[in-house]
């Protein structure tokens, strides 16, 4: 076998190995789990969006604002569900903000807190401890503070968050925001906008 033939064999073997490994490691399909506390819209809507976010990620805040506007424009056509994917190695308050969100969700106040937390992200992200700000937001959102603090002190909320992050990782997520639109994965708001245009042209 000469050098050119050997090179071709190397390329083919390499391509085969990578394609095989990709197939073996293929992300699991997202079973749409109706987490009603963190969902809005009609579950039978033609477009189902599952959003994996880190509440401290600036791109996620931009995506949330975009989706909120889009949802308001198409309230009957979209079902939106939020899942946790805190990037704790990059954002110091990723887990704390997710915990507050999960504990708010248990009182049916996820969206009320989300509407306060996301627009003020740039401010609380810079704090050493954002908890006083989150507590004030919780009061403003009408959350029962005793129940909230009991939830924050328990391990249960943290477990839900970690389980959702593990699910996301098993689906190939490595950055946020990542969306699954009718099961198709898109990462970042630009790709989200492009994908939504295929469902809602113009």
């Amino acid at each position: 076998m000469n050098k050119l033939q050997s090179s071709l064999v190397i390329v083919l073997v390499l391509a085969g190995l990578v394609v095989g490994a990709k197939a073996f490691l293929a992300p699991k399909k997202d079973p749409v789990n109706l987490q009603e506390a963190r969902a809005k819209g009609d579950p039978g809507a033609k477009v189902k969006i599952v959003e994996f976010i880190d509440f401290q990620c600036p791109a996620c805040a931009y995506g949330v604002k975009y989706l909120k506007t889009f949802f308001d424009q198409h309230p009957n056509d979209i079902y939106l569900q939020v899942r946790y994917f805190p990037l704790t190695n990059m954002h110091h308050h990723a887990m704390t903000s997710a915990l507050y969100s999960e504990c708010a969700a248990r009182q049916g106040k996820f969206w009320a807190l989300d509407d306060l937390m996301i627009p003020q992200q740039a401010q609380w992200a810079q704090l050493i401890s954002p908890e006083p700000v989150f507590q004030a937001m919780a009061v403003q959102a009408g959350i029962n503070i005793d129940q909230l603090n009991a939830c924050l002190a328990s391990d249960d909320a943290r477990k839900v968050i970690n389980d959702e992050k593990s699910l996301g990782q098993s689906m190939g997520i490595s950055s946020t925001p990542t969306y699954f639109i009718n099961g198709k994965m898109v990462v970042g708001t630009k790709s989200l906008q492009d994908e939504l245009k295929t469902y809602f042209p113009g």
């Binding site: 050997s6 190397i10 490595s174 950055s175 990462v187």
Partner: protein, 143 residues
């Protein structure tokens, strides 16, 4: 010494290419979009093709096959990284990490531009010493 450097540079590109190829391409597409350099179709093509180029260059440099071409390819790749990350820093784009190794390892853009510049320099040194670099390579077997 030169052989080890060649294997190291090849290994870096294999690691980098595999890190992107083994995950969903959408993750690398998001990284490419963050640099705000290309039109949408260019971003898509880059996300699909670039990791394969990295892997091929890495494997051939690692194995020592077509070394001069492999090293030139590595130099071009390092040069592209320096320019792309450099322009992002100059423009003040909000990059939290470079996205260079897929989801495997994260480096800040400031760190990675130093690493890529060092890689470019080392590749140049190897290109200037090809006779030493060819030791323990497939080129020395075939040629």
């Amino acid at each position: 010494m030169y052989t080890l450097l060649r294997i190291l540079i090849g290994g870096i590109f294999i690691f980098s290419g595999l890190g992107k190829l083994l995950g969903p391409y959408q993750n690398f597409l998001y990284v490419v979009q963050a640099y705000q350099l290309l039109p949408s179709w260019g971003e898509f093509l880059t996300a699909q093709i670039f990791p394969w180029i990295e892997l091929l260059v890495g494997v051939f440099v690692f194995l020592g096959m077509w070394i001069p071409w492999g090293l030139r390819g590595a130099a071009v790749l390092f040069g592209i990284f320096v320019v792309v990350v450099g322009q992002a820093l100059i423009r003040g784009l909000p990059l939290e990490n470079c996205g260079c190794f897929g989801g495997l390892v994260h480096f800040k853009p400031q760190t990675v531009i130093i690493m890529d510049s060092a890689g470019l320099l080392l590749t140049y040194v190897l290109l200037r010493n090809l006779s030493y670099v060819k030791k323990f390579s497939l080129d020395s077997y075939f040629d």
